[in-house]
């Protein structure tokens, strides 16, 4: 698992509104909180 102090791996992924979203687009502008979760439409 990634650790505090590591450089976050980059990504570019489709979102549910049809956009391409990358980590790089927020660099120097915003912090990012990634919420990883198991699967859509499952009990939480």
């Amino acid at each position: 698992m990634i650790k505090v102090g590591d450089q976050a791996p980059g990504f570019e992924l489709d979102d549910h509104l049809g956009r391409k979203i990358s980590l790089a687009q927020f660099k120097g502008k915003r912090h990012v909180m990634l919420l990883f979760y198991p699967l859509d439409f499952t009990p939480t």
Partner: protein, 203 residues
Amino acid sequence: MPGVERLQARFAAAHTQVLGVSVDSKFCHAGWGDALGGISFPLLADFQPKGATAKAYGLFLDGPGITDRATVIIDKDGVVRWVEAVGPGGEREIETLLSHCEAVDKEHGAGLSAWPKAKGWSGPATLYVKSNCGFSSWTLQARSNLHLESAITVKNVSEDAAAKRELEGKAGKGQAPCLVTGDDVLHESADIIAKMTAAMTDI
């Protein structure tokens, strides 16, 4: 996710962009966001190759082929400042995560400016849809995820002959989905969703 949606303004005040990530497709995400009452922050499809981003973060669970329930807070320079995995069946405490984001912002957020505000939806609009149509569903889910239910009226041309005639009058053809905003007529679902997204989000 709905808890985070309700606290979007406070995450924004802490200069923090929230992104959901799972191995589902973007279409599945759209339906799931709709089912949760509307999710306007990005839900990312770590879909092809499956789980590649989760694997890069060491959060992919090979056995079930899903992602751990885990939170990673990354500062504006791309450095990881907080990580927590609670297991697939675990729960996240959103207020606690918000306080971690606020702490990261206090320590590493010097020089960040306030976010641009979304311009919001203007003018009455009608979304014409068809029954049993994936493109129509996709636009309806975007309307829900962006909380545009009261701004955009929906008419189903498969069930409502008057609506079909109305659409033909405004758009010159009965093809649905179609979003009509004043004189602006959009037929492509991607264009319809892009117009909604541009009005209602700041990215």
